[in-house]
Chain length 149, copies 2
């Protein structure tokens, strides 16, 4: 799939967020846990807090709450509180959140078709120290999972 610059909307000025129109979206949608949350919510439908937590797995309640709160504030997720005993809260994706679905699909598509290339490029880079290249990569393989202790 080729891509000429013409398909890229014009880059405006020079501020970080303004040099790139997609930057704001990144802030909203792409943090460590937001995509798994949105993904799960989108595919598994409405579910309660603890279900979400179990499905996503290694996320802690604190963080799940934080992200959920942010997603709710941004209108991507709808929170429903049931005043019962014990309390029950359900989360579901909103229409706005659902509007991201094609985007996610697109992303997943790119992943399946190009992730290998990235891996390969990494191995090539790591395994073959070109002389015209700076000594070392400062923060090279930082794909480590911070998800255990």
């Amino acid at each position: 799939m080729q891509a000429d610059p013409a398909t890229w909307p014009s880059a405006g000025s020079v501020d970080p967020e303004q040099a790139c129109p997609v930057a704001p979206v990144v802030d909203i949608v792409f943090s460590r846990w937001t995509t798994p949350i949105l993904w799960t919510l989108n595919y598994q439908g409405r579910q309660r807090f603890i279900e979400l937590q179990r499905r996503i797995g290694s996320i802690t309640p604190k963080v799940l709450t934080q992200r959920l709160r942010q997603l709710e504030r941004d209108g991507l997720v709808v929170r429903t509180y049931h005043p019962e005993v014990p309390p029950r809260v359900e989360y579901e994706i909103s229409d706005l959140g659902r509007s991201l679905a094609p985007l996610f699909a697109h992303l997943a598509e790119w992943a399946t078709s190009h992730l290998d290339d990235v891996e390969q490029a990494r191995r090539a880079y790591d395994g073959n120290p070109a002389a015209t290249r700076p000594s070392a990569v400062p923060d090279a393989g930082s794909v480590m999972s911070t998800a255990n202790r």
Copy 2:
């Protein structure tokens, strides 16, 4: 690799990367500066270090180097070193990097059509404290500018 709920592991924990196929892509492409860099590189074409820095604006050379290095390692950017005096280095987007263009376009599209909704949702959320809602947002509007001192 599609996400079929039936294939999801039911026992044990699920890593964020496995709960959501797009997570790895996020790691690679969406950090604070990567999108502006890729965007500029793609739209403005091959350019040298300092041009990139000036175009992107507030990025520091250290960070620009770090991101550039990572992007190069991941095969999204190509670095060309010219052994001259003074040294000259040019960066350009690779084919792999270019393959992200439609994705970015899609992202930008979403931005223009839905960013307002997000803003609106935020104002509604902030301005209208529903009683069924937890007291406050822990890290609500964390769009803090860490960009100057």
